[in-house]
Amino acid sequence: MAPDVTAIERLTDAPVAVQPADVEAEFSRIWQETTGTGAGESSIRLRVLNFIGIGLTDDARDRFGHVMEALPERHPCRGIMAMTAPGHDAVIASISAHCWRSGSGNRHVCSEEVLLQAAPGQERPLASAVLALLVPELPVAAWLIGDLDFDHAIATEIIGAAERVFIDSTGSPDARAILRSAAHAVAGHDIEVCDLAWCRLGAWRGLVAQFFDGDDGPRQLASLQSIEIVSGGNELGSESLLLAGWLVSCLGLSIADVSRSAGRIEATLYDGSNGVRLAISASGGAIAPLERVSLKTKDAAFLVELHHDSGHMHVREEWPDARVRRTVAPSPTDEALLFAEALDDADDPGVFLGAMNSALSLLGDDDVRESPAQPS
């Protein structure tokens, strides 16, 4: 069943400039030309998703282009990048089509990409052009690239049409601001927000959860004594905060005795009278957003850390009767693969919301709920 995917080929030598109103007709023309050539080959124009990138910089456009190089292999889509750029009086468009070879036959599968640009101040016409180009009846995922705020003029109308809105708080110089913005967007706009930083935690969450999977899991959870999370860099990154927030909210712990200093948060988490020591710290290293997680219970210990050289995850468990260790593959780091997995999996948005709110509580944000959200 796995398709034999070869490198993406472009149907168009270079993006073709067109008037926004002519995008559909131009795609049809390219399509007709394609299907009229290639003896012995058949082509399929396939779209199961509208994928919108919204950004303000060339870097944002390049990131979107990189994702579109690989995402359509798993999620054939119409990709629309909307960005503001000086020098354009009106909205301008350029289009391109990507194909890959797939399936048991010599079949080309093709997705399409539209780049829409307009000068600052032209955000409303730009958003309107995006909405007009959405393929009807298909889900819409929007990605706010960079530190773009939910309330930015270019974003508000577009995210209103989206079922899921992606942000990426990884590497943000102000994780608190971006998480807070996302929390307010969820509360104010009733949209499903997914943070790529959260997606990067998939393997970490799975491994930590596995430690408590057995019949003995509830007893181990009840005797949890300490949690230590170490992130890279000099500041606490959003991954480490979200992971801590996830443990706090999923385990129904309340936060007390918080002390915050540069690159470090310490707190005591309470489940009834049982106190759990929490320490989140930045290692100063430049290896990865998240480097190590360790948990200790009354009679067992768990450690998972990212190996510097290989990028694999080393897992160690210590039980009274056994010590076991193993090496496993991490979650993907490439943005295109992260999107592919995130769009495959219907993660419970309530879990992310709970993690986000608890992370903000750890940061001392009083505007969000102190009590953890329950998974829906």
């Binding site: 054939p76 079949r107 999977d213 019949d215 056994a322 193993r326």
Partner: protein, 513 residues
């Protein structure tokens, strides 16, 4: 570490994660570890499960076979196998971590001392790898060894988990018996040592994504289930066509034949998934209960001449290449009467399907390789466009393509553009390969994971196996007494002429694959 057979308690940290839980720490013991199945399927599947974090932290794998190998030899040879057959490329560091859990015990299957050594080894590994006394025994051996292995496992005290307690499960490959009597005997022998809930009879078809999708297609789409019955369905055809011959397995195939090799297990399981009632849940035995009801509702085949057909391929050509006849294959008797093609007409006597024929056919050396379920719907009650000269209406046809080119297509009539109202059949086509670029896990990955989790939904239960044999045993008996004489067909053709007669007698025709 878990040490009981009770289902794991809900873990709050699992909310939102892909797997509701990972398996208990356990040891996987593969009998027949030097064989082809282990190299091609089992070890790559176990490696990929470990790689993708789906194996428990505490696990070990023990190969058990006659050859005098050391742990290191076993690891080296398994590395070669995984390198060759894994769907994911092998990674040095991940392999090294995985290989530390690989061990080997050399013994004949009938040597009780070997099982005692195995027990000692497993108990030591429980400490070294934290396997907690849980054992999954996988019989990747010739079927003749199944009963002996089960008996010796019992004698060595290995059918109840390790010193630390824990569970023991037995995974049995097909064929489960070669007729009703031998299947019952095998079940009796295994049942002396293992209880039904410990036995996982594997049918790798049930691990295929497209076979699992039959249930998803039926029960997660509101538009199909209301028409999935005798009021709307005219007939159902389950077809398995292979271009290959016996591929060096002539001696095995001589003892088996198409009916035993494919129909008794794979085709009957697919039929059950097509015909079963919706389940209220996927818990416990819900799916297997519904499948069992289908088997019980299948009308016994009384008219062997009319409702069954067997045939054997003669020499011919496949894709332009000359190929020998079955009787010229290595290991095959020149006077063999083993069938390489079988077709059956079945009826399911229940409210949903009464009067709808189910046609099953399987054959080797057919023109193309394809496994499909074709559901032909009844014609519209009034052929309206016939009144104005359009006389080419065809019934709607839903085809579930299981392999290759996996997908689903729906045929319906559409107006030919023009001033007339001509109707032409057209297809709406869905293909997995283009809509889901993701690498599907191998069937064995899913099935091994489920066996470790103790989820037997995708495994066959004894009542299903027995019912299939009860249905087909009279056919085998009648054939061995000369009923429905063996036909021949040219390799590269779609089977014998009489196969057409079997279905055309009902005013229908085989779906062209």
């Amino acid at each position: 570490m878990t040490t009981s057979t009770a289902p794991a308690t809900q873990n709050p940290l699992r909310a939102g994660l892909r797997l509701p839980r990972t398996p208990d720490a356990c040891a996987v013991v593969v009998f027949g570890a030097t064989g082809d199945l282990t190299a091609r399927k089992l070890m790559p599947a176990l490696y990929n499960l470990a790689r993708s974090r789906m194996m428990p932290t505490g696990f070990s794998i023990v190969g058990f076979a006659r050859r005098d190998w050391s742990d290191e030899q076993f690891r080296t040879i398994m590395k070669e196998a995984v390198t060759k057959y894994s769907r994911e490329p092998i990674d040095g560091e991940l392999w090294d971590s995985f290989a530390r859990r690989l061990h080997y015990v050399s013994s004949n299957f009938d040597d009780i001392e070997g099982y005692k050594r195995l027990g000692d080894r497993l108990n030591k590994q429980d400490t070294a790898h934290g396997a907690s006394g849980n054992r999954l025994f996988y019989l990747a051996t010739p079927p003749t060894a199944y009963a002996d292995i089960a008996r010796h496992l019992g004698e060595a005290g290995l059918s109840r988990g390790g010193d630390a307690g824990g569970w023991a499960r037995l995974v049995v490959e097909k064929p489960f018996g070669r007729d009703l009597e031998s299947a019952r005997e095998l079940d009796r022998n295994i049942g002396l040592v293992f209880r039904e809930r410990q036995i996982f009879r594997i049918d790798h078809y049930l691990g295929k994504e497209t076979v699992q999708n039959i249930m998803v297609f039926r029960f997660s789409n509101g538009i199909f289930e209301p028409i999935w019955n005798r009021r709307y369905v005219d007939n159902v055809q389950v077809s398995v066509a292979e271009t290959v011959g016996v591929e060096g397995r002539g001696a095995y195939y001589e003892e088996s034949g198409a009916l035993r090799d494919m129909v008794q297990n794979h085709l009957m399981q697919v039929l059950a998934l097509i015909a079963m009632e919706p389940t209220a849940s996927f818990r416990g035995d819900a799916v297997r209960d519904e499948k069992a009801k289908v088997f019980l509702a299948i009308k016994p085949i009384r008219d062997i001449e009319r409702d069954t057909l067997r045939a054997q391929y003669a020499s011919g050509a496949i894709l332009g290449e000359r190929v020998p006849g079955y009787r010229q294959e290595d290991g095959v008797s020149p006077t063999s009467i083993t069938e390489t093609y079988a077709a059956l007409r079945l009826e399911i006597e229940n409210w949903r399907w009464a009067g709808v024929p189910f046609y099953l056919r399987v054959g080797k050396r057919l023109p193309k390789r394809a496994t499909e379920v074709a559901i032909t719907f009844k014609m519209a009650p009034l052929q309206l466009f016939r009144q104005i000269g359009a006389d080419n209406a065809t019934p709607n046809l839903l085809v579930l393509r299981i392999q290759p080119d996996e997908g689903i297509s729906l045929r319906f009539g559409a107006k030919v553009p023009g001033t007339r109202s001509d109707v032409r059949p057209v297809n709406m086509d869905f293909r997995y390969g283009t809509s889901f670029g993701v690498d599907a896990p191998e069937a064995y990955e899913r099935l091994l994971l489920d066996a470790m989790l103790g989820d037997s939904t995708l495994f066959t239960r004894w009542d299903g196996v027995e019912a299939a044999w009860e249905l087909l045993n009279p056919v085998l008996d009648a054939w061995s007494n000369g009923a429905s004489p063996l036909q021949t067909y040219e390799a590269g053709s779609w089977g014998p002429k009489r196969a057409d007669a079997l279905i055309e007698g009902d005013g229908r025709e085989w779906h062209r694959m």
